[in-house]
């Protein structure tokens, strides 16, 4: 195993140990709930980071994939009586297909166009979630989604979901790391450094970009399904473009191209609105202001900034 591999798995083990101990300190269901939402955001952001940090493409539509995962899984199990895990899987497959159809034509174009296409896609999905009220429950939301269960035990409490969600995060991080160190990952890295050299070396750039886009959408879909089965109720407002912006923000604030960055970004920004709820009236002003200052003065993100302080060579955090 390479040095960076040891570094990654060492950090991962430390994270897992911390997570295992955390419920001993945190028993308040409210805090557990916040931690669970953090986990789901980390999952989406990890996928998104593969796209932004490695493929250099930005998506402002990941809340739509998150929402599609939630709605498809919720409706299949709620209205059609599917087994929740099977619905989750079906949602992931469908979302992968949608991402493929969306990604194939747009990823051939310059980065800005993917921003526009995904943003437009998110808006369309939002309109349909609201308007197809026979199926989706309309603006007030879809209710009655059954919980997931594992080994015959329903995952219905905040604590049991905590284990599931963070387990999914660990799994997601390992898969993401393997992807980054695979042929596709190396190809993307080469693309990032020098598109011309990568193309000249025979890297099938467009195919790789589409692949990563689909994978990142599946991360979002799975997180969305977990979200739906955890809460039992979903509303369109949860999956609008502002959520997409929030997700990319987590990526950027944490540090693009570093999987740990996604974790930091999500852990930092998820509870922020709740913390700022104390100053409800000034919430957006604070949030926008903090974000603005970070982007102006710390554009490489928190992890990138720490990395830069530590070492100048060797590239990324893992």
């Amino acid at each position: 195993m390479s040095a960076s591999g040891k570094h990654f798995f060492g950090a991962l083990a430390a994270l897992a140990a911390g997570l295992a101990l955390l419920p001993l300190a945190v028993s308040n269901p409210y805090y557990l709930n916040v931690l669970n939402v953090v986990a789901l955001n980390v999952l989406v952001v990890t996928g998104l980071n593969l796209l932004i940090g490695y493929a250099g493409q930005i998506s402002l539509g990941h809340a739509a994939f998150f929402g599609l995962g939630a709605y498809i899984s919720g409706i299949l199990s709620g209205s059609y009586g599917w087994e929740p895990w099977l619905s989750l899987l079906a949602a992931a497959l469908l979302v992968a297909l949608v991402a493929l159809v969306l990604g194939l034509p747009t990823l051939r174009l310059e980065g800005n166009y993917l921003v526009m296409a995904t943003l437009g896609f998110n808006l369309i999905v939002s309109v349909f979630m609201v308007q197809l009220d026979d199926i989706t429950g309309g603006p007030s939301g879809y209710t009655g989604i059954p919980s997931l269960s594992l080994f015959g035990q329903p995952i219905a409490t905040d604590l049991s979901f905590y284990w599931l969600a963070w387990g999914a995060v660990i799994l997601g991080l390992i898969l993401a790391r393997n992807l980054v160190h695979s042929r596709v990952g190396r190809g993307l890295k080469a693309l990032h450094e020098s598109p011309l050299a990568a193309a000249a070396s025979g890297v099938p750039i467009e195919a790789y970009k589409v692949k990563v886009f689909v994978i990142s959408a599946v991360y979002a879909s799975v997180a969305g399904s977990l979200y739906a089965h955890y809460y039992g109720i979903i509303t369109p407002a949860t999956f609008d473009i502002f959520k997409s912006v929030e997700l990319v923000t987590m990526c950027i604030v944490g540090g693009m191209g570093s999987l740990w960055g996604g974790l930091f970004g999500a852990a930092l920004l998820t509870p922020l609105p709740q913390l700022l709820a104390v100053v409800e009236e000034y919430k957006d002003i604070f949030f926008g202001g903090i974000l603005l200052v970070l982007l102006i003065f710390l554009p490489q993100g928190l992890v990138g900034w720490l990395e830069g302080k530590r070492v100048r060579s060797g590239g990324r955090a893992f």
Partner: protein
Amino acid sequence: MGFGDQLMQYVVSGLTTGAVYALVALGFCLIYNATRVVNFAQGDFLSLGGLMAYSLFVGAGLPMVLAFPLAVVAVALVGALMERLTIRPARSRQVLVLIFITIAASILMRGIFKHLWGKQALALPPLSPEVPLRLLGATLTPQNLWVLGITLVAIVALVWFFGRTLTGKAMRATAINPTAAALMGIDSHRMTMYSFALAGALGALAGVLITPITSLSYNVGVIIGLKGFAAAVLGGYGSFLGAVVGGLVLGLVESLTAGLISSVYKDAVAFVVLLLVLFLRPGGLLGVGGKERV
């Protein structure tokens, strides 16, 4: 009312909202050409224009002839200030980071608007008394004419500015080749600031014109802004003529779909058009852009 009359009615209202989209799209183009950045705060310039005009007209009791231009100037200053305080000091020149700076600025601005003007819908009266006019079977309000007329004047003024004035030419030079322009002694920062100011003015113009037609509140600009953005893509991002054509076409398509098919999906139409254009003709109706491959 016969089918033909109805159709004319949809065309009239489509062209009116289309003109507003065109103004917003022009704002997007100005900033894009100067910085290669999609300015997500463009819609907030629109909101601010309406809100400023409301405060000057209703709050300060100024006549509309004064309140309107003052609101436009105020938002132009806000635009310039935005460039000076956020884009210029940014440590990174990466387009991605700059785009996100505009998104953060947009969140911040909306927070400030909500704090200053509240959440409730405010109303701005039409620019002149509402005497409906008849034209080819359609009913035209004077506000329709104001929107179309002022948009036309704004476009002519822009064409004159970029074609005939030294500052306009300098801005164009910077957009085409910043390095060469800088060598000629053009201050590119200043030109970028002017672009933001002009984009602010155009947004405010759209805001004051549309508020008598739609409701006015702190976040009214978000959706209209995004539609203006779709219009800019439709026309060919970065092209001024494209922005105008894109805006008008989008307004028409939206109004006709709402009238002839269903108004339920009205807000989705613009974005379906956006996706279709990106898939089928990424350079837009007029542009040749979009093929800039990496």
